[in-house]
């Protein structure tokens, strides 16, 4: 193995870091950014638009769809840099990394050509309507119904824990299109503009410092042409989407920034002793492992080999790392670590990440689901 970066990859990451520096003023003016403890949960349409303008959305897409024709690995390398600089990434991660990946593979050519270029330009933002009050990690239990009537599906139901729905232009919906098929069949995927009559959004604040949404769907008419993949074949599309969603190098980037900041703070205050150094080194080693596991999963997706258990490892490794690093940061900083706000030690990010990290082993499929995927598909345990 050669796990060093190539010259073009190093240059790409340097360019990404320069871009991050250029949008810093946008971030510092945003109160939500200041209190957001998990960068991937934060959102900013202004930052997303800047990402699009500067060509950072859709790196792996072909130029005709607005991309640069690079690989998922390249995009993942860049996402880690975005994470290190605490870019609010929710719109980017939803629109490009997860939903965009599914649209690229499963949408009709017409739908793909219509949606991917504006996503790449940062002009179109998706949210993801997966979870429901009765279907979280057990996604197959979803009950939002879509009944076909002529050229439209009529959708009724409710989605919850939906990130960025308050900002999104379109929604990517998992719906049940057959009441008679077994649980994991009879599911389809639709996309619809958020201004379609019958869609209502309610936000609620979360422990992370931002908001999540409930999305109410009441007689929402979605053209059959907006079907992604086959009718009743949505489970395949959803699983494909999750493989991309579960690669979370941006979280590793955020952790690396936090560890650097904690070390600097301790050194400046004469508290960087041997024990602290050793703890930080071990966490950096764990961060390296989580980062490389993410890169390996992205490389597998680029090569088209089965990646579900590799992506689950990436998700589990990143989620555990965030929790351990946040806890260690607060322990090492002591009362300084509990302080919130930009004037606090490490910009209040230790306390922020401690709050937000609670969700890291829940969102995107609970840690227990990732363990089952690894055990069953990776280790063959039955």
């Amino acid at each position: 193995m050669d796990l060093g970066l190539t010259h073009p990859q190093r240059r790409l990451r340097e360019e990404a870091a320069s871009f991050c520096a250029s949008v810093r003023p946008l971030l510092e003016a945003d109160p939500e950014w200041q209190r957001q403890g998990m960068l991937s949960d934060g959102d900013s349409l202004a930052v997303n638009a800047a990402l699009g303008r500067e060509g950072w959305i859709g790196l792996s897409w072909p130029p005709e769809l607005g991309g640069r024709g690079l690989g998922r690995l390249d995009a993942t390398l860049v996402e880690e840099v975005f994470g290190y600089h605490w870019l609010p990434l929710s719109s980017y991660l939803l629109s490009y990394k997860t939903i965009g990946a599914a649209l690229e593979r499963y949408a009709t050519a017409e739908l793909r050509d219509r949606l991917l270029p504006p996503i790449a330009r940062g002009e179109l933002v998706f949210c993801q309507g997966f979870s429901e009050p009765g279907a979280g990690s057990d996604l197959g239990a979803l009950s939002t119904r879509a009944v076909r009537k002529g050229d439209v599906y009529v959708v009724d139901g409710q989605k919850i824990w939906t990130s960025s729905a308050q900002l999104a232009d379109w929604i990517y919906l998992a719906v049940r299109t057959s009441a008679t098929e077994p649980k994991h069949r009879g599911i389809s995927v639709l996309v619809a503009p958020m201004d379609t009559p019958g869609i209502e959004v309610r936000t609620f604040p979360t422990l992370g410092g931002g908001v999540l949404c409930e999305v109410f769907l009441d007689g929402v008419e979605v053209p059959v042409a907006n079907l992604v993949g086959e009718a009743n074949g949505g489970w395949t599309v959803l699983m494909h989407t999750l493989d991309f969603e579960r690669i979370t190098a941006e979280k590793v980037g955020g952790v690396s920034w936090l560890l650097d900041g904690v070390e600097r703070h301790l050194a400046e205050h004469g508290r960087l002793d041997r024990s602290s150094r050793e703890r930080l080194a071990a966490l950096r080693g764990e961060a390296a492992a989580a980062r490389l596991v993410s890169f390996r999963a992205a490389d597998a997706l680029d090569r088209g080999v089965p990646a579900s258990h590799l992506a689950a490892m990436a998700k589990l490794g990143g989620a555990r790392l965030v929790q351990r690093a946040a806890a260690a940061a607060v322990e090492l900083l002591g009362l300084d670590g509990l302080a919130e706000g930009p004037a606090a030690a490490v910009g209040g990010r230790a306390a922020g990440m401690l709050r937000a990290s609670v969700g890291s082993t829940i969102a995107g499929g609970a840690a227990e689901i990732q363990q089952l995927v690894i055990a069953r598909r990776g280790l063959g345990l039955r």
Partner: protein
């Protein structure tokens, strides 16, 4: 980035596997007595393949990882790592492991490097593992110009060893879980067992990846140092899971399950001490 192992280290690993084939850790004496697993005949076999003086060329670093992994899979004596990468038994602080004869120099961990030293063994110290640990005093020591390269090679081989050890431990546990029937089915079907082994699999893969990153061209010293600060603890978690899933059977000495667990902890403590002494 390339996630497949290059041909040369892969072929070397296959050769080393052949040399280790059939070798089993010797029967150990009563616990809490001093013993040294170093095996001169085995050392001769692996040295004949070129497992020696691995610090001489940075291009040999991938061989350190791949070869170290084979030694770890075999639970071979750590003396084979030390002599091939450091040029002698490892000494740190006031202890040396697998010491040779009174005239054989040891590799003494010093800030940022290792030097060669002559030491006097004071006491044979019974230890957790068959490392032949002795308390010693340094008679004379001198730096070596390639001490930093030796240290890097040793770290790479140790990381590889930890990967091999952890992978062996996990594979044996998966096999046990698949064959051991409880509660009307295999242990492998129990979600609690699956969860524990999934964590172990993540650790095994993580150790492998940081080991290879530590020898990838252009990496700063902090890369192998951070990797070595984390990986031994992760390996210990894997071997602890092996014990948990094997249950009482692994607690019996004749099971051999404990060997990887003790070796992981031994490697962990020595690695931590080396990191401190070379900081």
């Amino acid at each position: 980035m390339r996630f497949s192992i290059a041909e040369e280290p892969a072929l070397f690993a296959i050769s080393l596997r052949g040399a280790l084939s059939g070798w089993e850790p010797p029967l150990e004496p009563t616990l809490a007595t001093w013993w040294d697993e170093h095996d001169e005949a085995l050392a001769g076999r692996v040295e004949a393949l070129g497992w020696g003086e691995l610090w001489l060329d940075a291009e040999l670093l991938p061989v350190c990882v791949a070869g170290g992994a084979e030694l770890g899979r075999a639970l071979a004596p750590l003396s084979l790592l030390d002599r091939a990468t450091l040029g002698g038994p490892l000494a740190v602080g006031e202890r040396v492991r697998h010491p040779g004869g009174p005239d054989d120099p040891v590799a003494l961990a010093t800030p940022g490097s290792v030097g060669l030293a002559r030491v006097e063994v004071v006491t044979r110290e019974p230890a957790l593992d068959g490392t032949g640990t002795c308390q010693m005093s340094v008679v004379s020591a001198e730096p070596v110009p390639d001490g930093a390269a030796r240290l890097h090679a040793w770290a790479a081989a140790t990381l590889g060893y930890l990967h091999g050890l952890a992978a062996r431990s996990l594979e044996a546990t998966v096999s046990h879980a698949a064959s051991r029937e409880q509660f009307g089915g295999p242990l492998a079907a129990l979600p609690a067992v699956q969860a524990r082994l999934a964590d172990a699999a993540l650790a095994v893969d993580g150790i492998e990846l940081v080991a290879w990153e530590s020898v990838s061209p252009g990496q700063p010293v902090t890369v192998w140092r951070d990797a070595l600060a984390w990986a031994p603890g992760a390996a210990c978690e894997v071997t602890a899971s092996a014990h948990q899933v094997h249950g009482a059977v692994g607690f019996a000495l004749e099971s051999g399950v404990h060997r990887a667990h003790r070796r992981a902890w031994s490697a962990r403590a020595w690695a931590a001490e080396v990191l401190r002494a070379t900081a």
